[in-house]
């Protein structure tokens, strides 16, 4: 293409889109809210992976976190639904159109309190989708009550202390059947970015619990979901390096300390271990390590568990390749003869 203008062409990705095509509306969340940073990372990851925005379906429940799909990827369909029940909507959407890349955004209240029932069953099904919990330990949108991920001893601004044990959505997800489980921090650009790219490449339920401080209600001294606490207690398990299938360039890696996982689409996920003994493909070990982390007041981050070979819910249902949503009548309505046969059986 010849260009006469001297201004540099905008950077575009492999499907020819600029990052602008992945933007959303102007955020109405608080300035500094962790959720905004996560939206930015999603935009970048989708852009870099060259995902066609029209293929993406964004779904969410209710909460500040659940509002965020409005703030990225306006070219994608989206459904901001009811509190805690996005998993079932996402399941229905995937059944209708298995080609969608479904991205669910939820909050800790939305997922671990009202939504834990649907969360549990979503994980069990290994529905192919990316499920992100923007985890701040509180209900932001209703002004700062504890959610079920709040740690024991965590203190609200009002002085109220949480004395119920937190639900660890990651160990739960691993135990229940999710096949890609990670924890990250909205402030950890690099890690979250790589993790999201791998998530996009994965086929199966990806559950990412992203600690995302609520600057208005839970970023104070005494909170365990604050920027400061995360800085002090984050324990990354690995350096994450994601090589998409379309990237030719490759470098040697040290097989001794690096685990390589080949994703469904041929991409490679390379985890250079920081914690020597951690094996992200060991389900039971992962759960055990997560439980220990709580006792040690560590916040483990990284790819906690990955299994890139388990069948997904769509596989198990043996659904035809073409989206059910748009099958023609000739396929969805059996013939006159079939009806006659059914009638005959009933005579």
């Amino acid at each position: 293409m010849a260009t006469t203008s001297s201004t540099p062409a905008p950077k575009i990705n492999r499907i020819g889109l600029s990052v602008m095509e992945y933007k959303g509306g102007k955020t109405t969340l608080c300035a500094g809210c962790g959720h905004n940073a996560i939206s930015e990372r999603i935009i970048d990851a989708m852009y870099e992976m060259g995902v066609q925005p029209e293929r993406v379906a964004k779904l969410s429940g209710i909460g500040c976190s659940s509002k965020s799909p409005a703030y990225f990827m306006s070219r994608s369909h989206s459904f901001n639904s009811v509190h805690g029940r996005m998993p079932s909507l996402a399941t229905g959407a995937m059944l209708a159109n298995r080609n969608l890349l479904t991205l669910g955004v939820s909050g800790d209240g939305d997922s671990a309190s009202i939504g834990i029932g649907q969360f549990v069953h979503l994980m069990r099904r290994n529905l192919p989708m990316v499920y992100i919990i923007e985890d701040n330990g509180v209900y932001g949108l209703t002004k700062g009550q504890f959610s079920a991920t709040a740690d024991v001893g965590s203190k609200l601004k009002t002085g109220v202390v949480n004395d119920l044990p937190p639900i660890d959505t990651c160990s739960l997800a691993i135990e229940l059947g999710a096949t890609f489980v990670g924890r990250s921090f909205s402030g950890d650009k690099r890690q979250l970015h790589s993790m999201l790219k791998a998530a996009i490449a994965h086929r199966g339920t990806v559950m990412l619990d992203v600690i995302s401080p609520c600057v208005t209600f839970n970023d104070h001294e005494g909170s365990t979901k604050s920027y400061k606490y995360m800085k002090d207690h984050e324990e990354p398990l690995q350096d994450i390096n994601f090589v998409p299938y379309f990237e030719e360039i490759d470098v040697e890696y040290d097989a001794g300390t690096t685990v390589e996982v080949t994703m469904h689409d041929g991409s490679r996920l390379r985890l250079r271990k920081i914690e020597e003994s951690y094996d992200a493909t060991n389900r039971i070990g992962a759960i055990q390590r997560l439980l220990e982390a709580h006792d040690k007041q560590e916040v483990l981050t990284g790819v906690l568990y990955v299994n890139s070979t388990a069948p997904t819910f769509i596989d198990l249902l043996n659904i035809t390749e073409e989206p059910l949503a748009t099958l023609p009548e000739s396929v969805t309505r059996p013939s006159r003869e079939v009806l006659e046969q059914c009638m005959e059986e009933l005579r």
Binding site: E54, S74, L89, L95, N97, Q118, L317, M343
Partner: protein, 612 residues
């Protein structure tokens, strides 16, 4: 428990001996889990094959085995297939209920009982036949542990003999029942024959009841409403089905699974559908909405408790305008209520399901063929109006066997409603999801995955403008809500019209719906014959009400609204909808006991209310 609501009878009386042909109610009182279902079906089918109109109603307990169950077969030459209050022929197999069952019979009835029960001493105004089942079964069934299963087939043979059923028809019915199990068929046939032979040799016919061959059932089928609905859904092109088991809706989906596996697997062995057992009803409706939003024809089936659990999600679908079909096979509420009994008790709460201003479209089938047809109607309307359509069946229709003409293949193509494709968008450039471009209140939608940069819109349960952008503006909100209401008004012209039967120039009208219809067919004849009282009749088939409903009320001085609930729920909807001047015309006849409505109760009540 007596299944009839007549007063207990015990006094002696003279027996009428006039023959009663092709007009009787046979009740089998047994215990659930005892395998009597097969025998009852064979008996029902035998009569059916004799060409006599027949219906079978199962009154079963809410447990799995060991509790009293009554199966009632009504054979009637005039085609009356509603429940009849009186039992003419009791087959008493259950010791626990035998006494009360016998005491509640009207004088002149016949009783076939297991010999050890010695029921014949209870009354002297009935005809009694004793059968030594255990002895008979031992003779035909050497394997002791199979005897329990086979024993019940004996009464089929006895009844065949006593009522004059053709044993060839019994055999045909029986072999159909055990189609894939030859050994079982033979064993059962032997038992039936043993019963027949025993009766021939030992029982002296003393009751007046007889079946004589007719030709009323030519070409007809027998099917339950849930299976008919399942077939209907398959031919309506359903693609996503979700469910959570609940009586009496489970069999709808279970039958659908069987049908779909047989007829909706593509040549590549892949399914052209997805059926998912959800973790509960909240998930079931959530999946329906997610699938509807993404473009599937999606549905679920449930009963009252499920409907209640779906309330919040139903409001989301109403307000975001997502299509979906929900079958409510109504049972007796509130709460768990009587889960194995029938009712029309969810009308009001379903019409207004969800907080805020919601109004839902309801379709109400009265027959198995309407279960079949309304499946297509429901999906078409759901997609046309972008809303959830509830199909209000009930346990009596859904789980009992009904005769029917064979179903007609749907002649009109599937209507997928206003969906813009990629090509449409290329032509239009842009679109506004919630704009009333056509004046019918219905906007155009796009499906996720549509490959056009302008295809996406943001569906949300919160306030939005025509472009589906977030809005808290009072004017946006009000305008949108009024448009949604306009859809509902438009729907009046598209939902199934009522069935209207005019008696001529009667000033009295009767409105009924669903399975109450069958009692009304008979009751109107009773009214005419016995009281020379003619009433016009309108059978509702949908909410919102169409023009015909208003006209009907307009044209009659008094309108009886007959239904099976306590609070006159449909009458309530009518009161809210008809011209206020006409409200005085509406009168309620309501029942809430869980038994299918019978004609006699309606007749009596109308006559009482008419002061006759």
């Amino acid at each position: 428990m007596a299944t009839t609501d007549v007063t207990l009878q015990g006094a002696p009386g003279r027996l009428e001996r006039k023959p009663v042909v092709n007009d009787m109610s046979i009740q089998v009182a047994t215990v659930n889990g005892s395998g009597s279902q097969s025998s009852n079906t064979v008996l029902l089918r035998s009569i059916f094959q004799m060409g006599v109109p027949v219906s079978g109603k199962n009154l079963f307990p809410s447990n799995i085995a060991g509790l009293p169950t009554w199966y009632t077969i009504r054979a009637n030459k005039d085609g009356y297939i509603a429940r009849k209050k009186e039992i003419d022929f009791l087959i008493a197999m259950n010791a626990e209920t035998a006494h009360e069952d016998v005491l509640s019979l009207a004088a002149g009835a016949a009783v076939l009982y297991d010999e050890p029960l010695s029921l014949n001493s209870l009354r002297n105004d009935l005809t009694f036949y004793a059968v030594p089942y255990d002895k008979l079964v031992a003779a035909v069934c050497p394997e002791a542990k199979l005897r329990k299963l086979v024993k019940n087939m004996i009464y089929v043979g006895v009844v065949a003999r006593l009522l004059d059923l053709d044993m060839a028809e019994v055999e045909k019915a029986l072999r159909k029942q055990f189609a894939k199990k030859l050994k079982a068929a033979n064993l059962n046939m032997a038992a039936a024959q043993a019963g027949f032979d025993y009766a021939a040799a030992n029982l002296k016919k003393q009751d007046p009841f007889r079946i004589v061959r007719m030709d009323k059932n030519l070409g007809k089928i027998i099917i339950d409403g849930n299976s008919a609905a399942a077939l209907g859904c398959m031919f309506a092109g359903v693609t996503v089905v979700t469910w959570y088991p609940i009586t009496p809706s489970s069999s709808l989906v279970e039958t659908l699974i069987d049908y779909m596996k047989e007829h909706r697997i593509g040549p590549d062995g892949k399914a052209t559908f997805a059926i998912v057992q959800a973790e509960d009803e909240l998930a079931a409706i959530g999946m329906v909405i997610g699938a509807g939003w993404a473009g599937a024809r999606s549905m679920t089936a449930t009963a009252g408790p499920g409907i209640s659990l779906m309330a919040e999600f139903a409001g989301l679908a109403y307000y975001t305008e997502v299509p979906g079909v929900i079958w409510d096979i109504q049972r007796v509420g509130p709460s768990t209520g009587l889960p194995t009994r029938t009712s029309q008790g969810d009308i009001l709460s379903t019409a207004f399901l969800s907080h805020g201003d919601t109004k839902n479209i309801l379709l109400i089938p009265n027959s198995v063929s309407e279960c079949f047809e309304m499946a297509t109607d429901a999906f078409n309307l759901a997609e046309q109006f972008q809303t959830i359509v509830f199909v209000m069946s009930d346990l009596d229709l859904g789980m009992n066997n009904w005769m029917s003409d064979p179903f007609k293949y749907p002649e009109t193509p599937i209507n997928r409603g206003k969906v813009l494709s990629k090509e449409d968008l290329e032509r239009l450039g842009t679109f506004s999801r919630y704009k009333d471009v056509d004046g019918d209140g219905i906007g155009w939608r796009t499906l996720p995955g549509t490959d056009h940069p302008a295809a996406a819109y943001f569906a949300r349960g919160s306030g939005h403008n025509e472009k589906s952008q977030y809005s808290e503006r009072p004017d946006d909100f009000e305008r949108n809500m009024e448009r949604i209401n306009r859809k509902f008004e438009t729907a009046r012209s598209f939902v199934p019209r009522p069935e209207v039967v005019s008696a001529g120039k009667s000033k009295i009208g009767i409105i009924a719906y669903g399975t109450s219809h069958w009692a009304l067919v008979e009751s109107r004849d009773q009214l005419k014959k016995e009281y020379n009282f003619e009433a016009d009749y309108l059978r509702l088939r949908a909410y919102p009400f169409t023009r015909e409903v208003h006209e009907f009320v307009e044209q009659h001085e008094r309108v009886y609204v007959v239904e099976q609930n306590r609070d006159a729920q449909m009458l309530s909807l009518l009161k809210l909808d008809v011209r206020p001047e006409l409200v005085t015309r509406l009168r309620s006849i309501s029942h809430i006991h869980g038994l299918p409505l019978d004609a006699r109760s309606v007749t009596d009540e109308i006559m009482t209310m008419e002061g006759k």
